[in-house]
């Protein structure tokens, strides 16, 4: 019964216009690869797990996906968190130092970085909700200082380690799937459950939609904001563990560099507005997949380095045009296409209202 509800809910969600368009873009990129990149969909089994470009897309998207999931909630409350990259670096650095320099049990290696990440998130949340600093500046403090903290933890060095249980986080596999895929989808499901099927999600939406009004409804806006910044930092912390485990080293200098822009882009491509209010977790996940599939495509196709950015630009602009209703209407006008009719005839229920 519950599953049936879930699938119905999912179909409805897919049909709701934003996610539909980001899904279509994702499939267009995949289709492009299907035609122009041989072996892109070729999957074989190596070392007991699936191996192939398409698997890479999901595997490598994990850090951005995690950061984007946390970012979605922050953006939904009308905020923004640009400190995620630094938090990611700090979390990875702490884990590496614990493994390489200190003799602590494995659960502490996993927990301490995450606890510290949560504390950093709480710091962001406090600045935003209780001191009332504008989110971009409040988290800018941690963006700048956090990189310094990460470097301080490792003394500016790249800390290398050998630790099979920890290496499992990025290198291991479950049911033949890379473990980061399992982690990111696990986190996604947990967050989806917490924020879509409990009152928490409604609170988040109302804080972002109208902070004043939600206050009169008895919602403690400060506390909700605190929670979303903690969740965002936690997600970044998990991404940091994956990144460190992936290269079997912590790189405090470059790990998570530019993560904030990628995460925000994923969220916005996914249909969530930066003004807060309504948010689409599924959209953000697809947004992250779109960006990683683009990167993997560029790398596999061998696009010259200096042209890469122009290709990125074109794709980003096309994405944002396709998502614009006005643009689609104009396009339809030119080609005399009946988009709405076309969609109504498609098997997806709901359609474009």
């Amino acid at each position: 019964m519950a599953i049936k509800d879930l699938t119905r809910d999912l179909t409805k969600r897919i049909a709701s216009s934003h996610i539909k368009w980001s899904l279509i873009i994702f499939f267009v990129i995949l289709l492009f690869n299907f035609i122009f990149t041989p072996n892109f969909f070729h999957i074989e089994i190596k070392n007991g797990r699936f191996y192939g470009s398409i698997i890479d897309v999901f595997n490598r998207a994990a850090p951005v996906m995690l950061a984007a999931i946390g970012m979605t909630l922050v953006i939904a409350t009308g905020g923004i968190d640009i400190s995620v990259g630094s938090v990611m670096a700090i979390s990875g650095s702490i884990a590496a130092v614990l493994i390489a320099k200190m003799d602590v049990p494995f659960w502490m290696v996993l927990c301490l970085p995450l606890v510290f990440s949560a504390l950093l998130g709480a710091w962001n949340g406090l600045l935003v909700s209780y001191i009332g600093i504008q989110p971009i500046i409040a988290t800018l403090i941690l963006l700048v200082a956090g990189r310094g903290i990460a470097q301080l933890v490792t003394d500016g060095q790249i800390i290398v380690f050998e630790h099979p249980p920890f290496e499992f986080i990025a290198g291991g596999s479950l049911f033949g799937l890379h473990f980061p895929i399992i982690i990111s989808f696990g986190v996604f499901l947990i967050i989806l459950f917490l924020f879509k099927f409990t009152a928490l999600g409604l609170f988040v939406e109302s804080v972002g939609g109208n902070s004043e009004a939600s206050k009169y409804c008895g919602i403690n806006a400060g506390r909700i904001k605190l929670v979303v910044y903690i969740v965002s930092a936690l997600c970044a912390g998990i991404a940091g563990l994956i990144a460190a485990s992936n290269i079997k080293a912590a790189d405090p200098n470059t790990s998570g560099d530019g993560l904030e822009l990628n995460a925000i882009l994923a969220v916005v491509i996914g249909g969530t507005s930066l003004n807060g209010g309504k948010y689409f977790l599924v959209g953000s996940v697809i947004g992250a997949l779109i960006m990683q599939s683009l990167t993997t495509t560029i790398l596999t196709m061998g696009v010259p380095v200096q042209v890469t950015l122009v290709v990125n630009a074109i794709v980003v602009l096309v994405v944002c045009l396709i998502q614009s209703k006005n643009f689609r209407d104009i396009l339809a006008g030119i080609f005399k296409l009946d988009f709405r009719g076309l969609l109504r005839r498609m098997p997806l229920k709901g359609g474009n209202k």
Partner: protein, 313 residues
Amino acid sequence: MKTKKLLVLCLILIVAFSVSIFSKPLKIGFSQIGAESAWRTAETESMKATAEELGVDLKFSDAQGKQENQIKAIRSFIAQKVDGIILAPVVETGWEPVLREAKRAKIPVVLVDRGIKVSDPSLYVTLIASDFVFEGEEAGKWLVKKMNKKGNIVELQGTPGAAPAIDRKKGFASIIKKYPNMKIIKSQTGNFNRADGKQVMEAFLKAEGKKINAVYAHNDDMALGAIQAIEEAGMKPGKDIIVVSIDGVKGAFEAMVDGKLNCTVECNPLLGPLAFQAIKDALAGKKLKKWIKQNDEVFPMEVAEDVMPSRKY
């Protein structure tokens, strides 16, 4: 009310006391690009250690990768009336106006780790650096010999636009193009770091598979990332695919001892002693060579074990 005033007072005091003033005889400013890699941290450490040894008051400024911050730093060095300036330029152009100011203030400027393009060479005393083109050529020559003049190579470039990336690519390509049977089949940027190096190599392995005979990485970190990607694809780095890189950091030597990296070309970051000597010479009025070139050696994996204990970075 009162507590708030107290708070402000405390904050101001914190700012005031967190700052300490030293007054020592020789005052030298060092403008560093940032701390983006272990190589650069080693260079910074070398400068600081030398300064301490010589009893120099070192004014250190980290520009966080921004040229404008480096220019600001040089300007405030001049305002602070330092005796000499050491500059590790983030890019080759754009130093003429500020160096002219330094010259007007009669402060000698020593460049480290890469050169600059200026119309008036008297703007700086000397350049202490490796030759990036030469490093690329050495890597190319070694690879030509190792591969018997034939095979397919993939290249992991540094950050697009960065001088070492451009020159190491240029040097390497100039050697490879002499041999028609050697081909660079893929070339992408790994931004000088492990994670990107690994991701790019992963994509290359999927696109080209067993066709790849060798990897040339513009620095060791990317090579170390690529090695992991090769292992995860079920191949043996160092045997199935030859790996050659540049810098010669400790991690590279460890990988060579393990037999996973075939060769690294040294690029020495320990420029502190030479740089301070150059400034002292310039202040004493001695004439210096315009480019004090570092003798970078090639270290193949066979010698790694013997050399490793003597490596300092």
